[in-house]
């Protein structure tokens, strides 16, 4: 074990622990427990909001997977990754003030609360709770595997021990501190991600002999690496552009991101978060993926993409600084996982248990339920991650695009289009997720676009068409009743 590398990581974990404990002490007892535990009492300021949105969204793929692909593909993949800059401003601008106001009016604590009040339909609630629990649970397990693998590769511990360390670190602060702990640790983790990117980018440029030298080395090896088309010319403009939907505007539909858009204190916090978020997301995406490309001339011949980032950090930095930089992917994984854990827990406790099983549960019961459900979920994920079942890996494939296709229109059109109704929402969710799974399995990337494109279009058409067709009948019924 390389203690110089491991020490900064241990310090990082301890720091996260302390913040988690501190946050749990901050719970405001004057608010309802649910609001506090699952939404931090709607008190997030601009900086924390920007960081928690960025950190929740930026996962293992931004720090491990993405740079690995950029290493193979060249600048074309950095171009693709830059479509994510929009997430910094688009989500908050589009959901924006209307979502904040409506969420408060409905007293919504979860995304599903919002949908429940907006559509007044049991089916909408069941469908969304079901898809959140299934998809995000598998996404979470996949991230845990990634987190454990990272610890394993850095420390030389066995996979099980690594997984155990990872699970304990995340679970303790999520269980005791709830959303506030998640958001605060996300802010620290986000800052580490930012600083890690900055240090490594500078170090890689110096190690490579400056940007002009690196670029000419790349061009000498394969000129395609410095074109927008990928190393074999396979990245077509249409394909790359379709990622604007998957990792750009479609992110509006991801529940773990959406729930953050109802957690902020006031308009000022939202305004600041838009500015900070855009700059931080843009810098990290540009920096991390450039690091992947620039690593190529310095460290040629890496076979496994996922190892590019750890290997290059260890190559170009002194060990202790590599430890600091490698805390960044660790932070990215933890900050995604903590949010998912809390979100799945809120879906079980708030959306299923309180909504339908025991609507008049006492504050004390809710409290006990929230702690224990979060703990049980954490333990379940841990057990799953020991040897992930095939079903889980399979479900994880759909979690990102599937959830986007399910939620984007019921949320966005539900907010801005009066005529949208529950029939439209249900059809749109079913068609969105269903078509995503079918297209992914039987005809991936149709017409040269990413799989997510068509389901988003189909669920849009379904939402509008069904809402309009059933709309007339619906108003008739209302007028008959009144």
């Amino acid at each position: 074990m390389n203690w110089q590398v491991v020490t900064p990581l241990i310090i990082f974990l301890v720091l996260i622990f302390i913040i988690g404990f501190w946050a749990s002490k901050q719970m405001n007892s004057s608010n309802s427990f649910l609001q506090e535990y699952f939404l931090g009492g709607r008190e997030l300021g601009g900086f924390i909001l920007a960081m928690t949105m960025m950190a929740t969204y930026g996962s293992a793929s931004s720090f491990i997977g993405g740079p690995g692909v950029a290493y193979t593909q060249g600048l074309g993949w950095v171009l693709l990754a830059m479509s994510q800059v929009v997430t910094g401003y688009f989500v908050l601008m589009v959901l924006g003030k209307k979502f904040a106001i409506m969420a408060r009016r409905y007293q919504a604590v979860t995304l599903i609360d919002f949908l429940k009040e907006r559509y007044k339909s049991k089916w909408v609630v069941w469908l969304s709770a079901f898809s959140i629990i299934i998809f995000l649970f598998s996404a979470m397990a996949a991230q845990w595997v990634g987190g454990a693998r990272l610890i394993e590769s850095l420390t030389g511990l066995s996979y099980i021990s690594a997984l155990f360390i990872f699970a304990i670190s995340v679970m303790v602060y999520v269980v005791i501190g709830g959303f506030r702990a998640v958001a605060l640790t996300d802010a620290v983790q986000g800052a580490i991600m930012f600083i890690g990117t900055l240090i490594l980018l500078i170090a890689v440029i110096i190690a490579g002999g400056g940007i002009p030298k690196i670029i000419s080395d790349l061009a000498a090896e394969n000129p395609n690496l410095i074109t927008p088309y990928g190393f074999d010319g396979g990245l077509t403009p249409l394909y790359v552009s379709s990622f604007w939907i998957l990792v750009g505007v479609g992110v509006v539909g991801l529940p773990q991101v959406t729930v953050r858009a109802m957690s902020y204190k006031n308009s000022k916090a939202m305004h600041r978060a838009i500015i900070i978020g855009t700059i931080v997301v843009g810098f990290i995406m540009l920096g991390m993926h450039l690091i992947g490309v620039f690593a190529r001339p310095i460290l040629p011949g890496i076979e496994v993409g996922d190892t590019v980032m750890p290997l290059i950090a260890l190559k170009v930095l002194p060990p202790w600084l590599a430890g600091v930089v490698l805390a960044a992917p660790m932070a990215a994984i933890m900050s995604t996982v903590d949010s998912l854990l809390l979100l799945v827990s809120s879906a079980v406790v708030k959306d299923v248990y309180i909504n339908y099983i025991r609507p008049n549960a006492s504050e004390g019961t809710i409290k006990k339920m929230s702690f224990s459900v979060t703990t049980v979920l954490g333990i379940l994920v841990f057990l799953m991650a020991i040897s992930p079942p095939d079903l889980l890996i399979w479900l994880n494939l759909f979690s990102f695009g599937g959830l986007e296709a399910a939620f984007i229109w019921p949320v966005v059109l539900g907010l801005y289009w009066q005529k949208g109704n529950k029939f439209g929402a249900i059809t749109s969710m079913l068609i969105g997720t269903g078509s995503y799974i079918i297209i992914h399995l039987y005809c991936p990337n149709p017409f040269g676009m990413h799989t997510v494109t068509l389901p988003i279009v189909l669920s849009f058409i379904a939402f509008i068409a069904v809402s309009l067709i059933t709309g007339k009948k619906d108003t008739n019924q209302v007028s008959l009743l009144s």
């Binding site: 950095v78 106001i101 009016r105 074109t227």
Partner: protein
Amino acid sequence: MDINKQRKDPRFKIAVKEAWIGIGLVLFNFAWWFGFAYGPLGSGSVESYHFIFGLPAWFFYSCVAGFIVMSVLVVLAVKLFFKEVSFDDEAEGEAEPK
């Protein structure tokens, strides 16, 4: 009724305007990004590339300058067009049926 009420609430007018600003920014962002990457700068042969700060010009304009331009535009949009509103419904008091 809910619909009439929502029309009247001046905060929603602000919210809708800001959502459209968001969409406008994305469209501009996409056009800038796409135009510099796949336009004449990027689609030519590698021998004809010119370089800015060592980076191919298409990449510099599309990704580096594009990011800076978007950051500036986002700051301007927020500072110039975004209005502060209260998120609570106090003003309307008990009128809310829900």
